[in-house]
């Protein structure tokens, strides 16, 4: 209970524990602290020697009314957490998940996420993942997943790592999008010190009228190194994809972006835009002319980009 309360406090979540209508999972390191399913949502969790297997299945046609809460933390020294996540959203079903990944200790820790997500026909899955890290940058985080988005299904994910230091983050996602599906993947990360940010996101638009947008918003302060590789392949008529990457550099950081677009059907379309560089001087001078210092102005501009 002590660990759950610590996680809840750090995540600033209230009213989840004890609410039988809110599905939730709490894990510290590789230990299951608590889990609660709701009608139409089948949760299966199993502790393994080196991790936790989690199976989440929303039955066909079921709309999970309240957001589901996942809380994964490493509250002890020098630990490795491995989560094997398998999520299935049944045909016509819908679920929103708020996931908090909490690594507050100033000790080395490693979080590995291997996800397999399947959204069946006309299903909807929204996944908001927020990371809360310590200020020392000792965490290494590897969220990797494969997502299959069925015909007419909707997938949206927001990944946010703005509080605390990143340490090392290595995001690797593959999206396979069937006809009439839509996917929106947004990543917002702020790096400081010697943080390392690696992002690889690939989407394949397999079916007619499938749509995918991959968006990255990165702030690389100090000596942060950030590399973003986004690729969208469109294979069917009416498919539309867009890659949008903004990386702001401040200090001695290094940023790279590799937007790759591939179109294999004459009636498909993929666009991309990338905007990398220091804080825009005109924006800076506008805010300084209102009385902000250079540092305050830069922070406000970066806040906007990451909002």
């Amino acid at each position: 209970m002590k660990e759950i309360n610590e996680l809840l406090n750090l995540a600033k979540i209230e009213g989840v524990l004890g609410d039988k209508e809110t599905a939730s999972i709490f894990i510290d390191n590789n230990k299951i602290l608590s889990s609660n399913g709701v009608e139409g949502l089948v949760l299966k969790l199993k502790e393994q020697k080196d991790g936790v297997d989690i199976s989440v299945r929303v039955l066909p046609g079921v709309i999970i009314k309240k957001p589901v809460h996942f809380c994964f933390g490493i509250l002890h020294k020098s630990r490795v957490q491995k989560i094997n996540m398998n999520i299935v959203i049944g045909k016509g079903a819908s679920m929103n998940v708020f996931s908090h990944c909490i690594f507050p200790k100033n000790d080395p820790s490693k979080h590995l996420m291997e996800g397999k997500i399947k959204i069946e026909e006309d299903g909807t899955f929204r996944y908001f993942e927020k990371h809360i890290h310590s200020e020392k940058g000792m965490s290494k985080v590897y969220p990797h997943a494969t997502v299959k988005i069925g015909k007419g299904a909707r997938f949206r994910t927001d990944f946010e790592l703005i509080g605390g230091r990143v340490g090392l983050i290595d995001i690797d996602y593959d999206l396979f999008c069937e006809a009439d599906s839509s996917s929106d993947f947004i990543t917002k990360i702020s790096g400081r010190g010697k943080d390392i940010i690696n992002i690889r996101e690939r989407a394949v638009l397999l079916g007619e009228n499938a749509k995918a947008v991959l968006r990255s918003r990165i702030a690389a302060r100090d000596e942060t190194k950030a590399e973003v590789y986004n690729k969208i392949t469109a294979k069917a008529a009416g498919a539309f994809g867009h890659v949008d990457c903004t990386e702001i550099l401040q200090g001695n950081g290094k940023v790279k972006a590799y937007p790759e677009v591939e179109v294999l059907h004459p009636l498909a379309r993929v666009t991309h835009e990338a905007n990398l560089g220091g804080v825009d001087n005109r924006q800076l001078e506008t805010l300084m002319a209102r009385g902000l210092s250079k540092i305050q102005a830069e922070d406000l501009i970066i806040k906007g980009v990451l909002s």
Binding site: G291, L292, K294, G304, L306
Partner: protein
């Protein structure tokens, strides 16, 4: 009493003289206009007064409240109460109007909402929006004016607030200039608009980087309309109008 005085001011850029021997005084609490043909140096003078990067290689001096400000940074000048509204306001990806205006007004939500209403924008509709490409140029101009109102500056330079705006927005520009004057702000407005020029207590006519005339807004408006707008000698005024400094 002069709130701003410019003394034998020269501005250089890449070895060229952009502004030459400009001397002028602006009285506190007045509206002054800076007029002249395209390329005369009006915006350049505005940027130099604000101390923007690339506009700091100068000779002569600028005095604000009797003290030299030529060595002060943009932020330091703003802290004294000097600010600038750009002709083409900057766009800020993701930055909410409420945070943008909050940079000038602090956390005072009432002041922020009031400023938006003064420029004819609904706070409910605009506060949650971002100051980005989804706003039209006219909307961004109004939001820029709202940020000036929030700041309550002692001296504001408005760089062509009337360009690219519709009739309704132009009306708001007049109202905002009047409001700023009513709260004691000194306004320097750069304009090509004779209507705006006529509102000015005093107008300065620039040509080819030189100050060639200063007079009542109405008088300069007549001269500008009849002479400058039709002048065949780009940036070359009649010799008789060149002010002897």
């Amino acid at each position: 009493m002069a709130i701003l005085s410019i003394d034998k001011f020269k501005l250089f850029k890449s070895g060229k003289i952009l502004l030459e021997d400009i001397s002028l005084e602006v009285e506190a609490g007045t509206i002054c206009a800076l007029v002249g043909p395209n390329g005369a140096g009006k915006s350049t003078l505005a940027y130099a007064l604000m101390g923007l990067e690339g506009y700091r290689e100068i000779s002569g001096d600028i005095f604000f409240d009797g003290k030299s400000i030529k060595k002060l940074s943009v932020s330091q000048r703003a802290k004294l109460g000097i600010t600038l509204a750009w002709q083409e306001p900057a766009r800020f990806q993701g930055l909410k109007v409420k945070d943008y205006l909050g940079a000038s007004a602090g956390k005072n939500q009432e002041e922020i909402s009031d400023a938006l209403r003064r420029v004819g924008l609904s706070p409910e509709k605009y506060l949650p929006r971002a100051v980005d490409k989804n706003l039209s140029g006219g909307e961004r101009k109004r939001i820029e004016l709202a940020s000036i109102i929030c700041m309550k500056p002692r001296l504001v330079i408005l760089d062509e607030p009337d360009s690219g705006v519709d009739v309704e927005a132009l009306k708001k520009v007049f109202e905002v200039m009047g409001y700023l004057k009513s709260i004691g702000t000194t306004v320097i407005v750069i304009t090509h608009n004779v209507q705006v020029l006529k509102q000015a207590d005093l107008a300065f006519l620039l040509c080819d980087g030189k100050l060639i005339d200063e007079s009542k807004g109405e008088d300069v408006a007549e001269y500008f309309k009849n002479r400058c707008l039709t002048c065949p000698h780009k940036n070359k005024p009649r010799e008789s109008k060149i002010k002897k400094i």
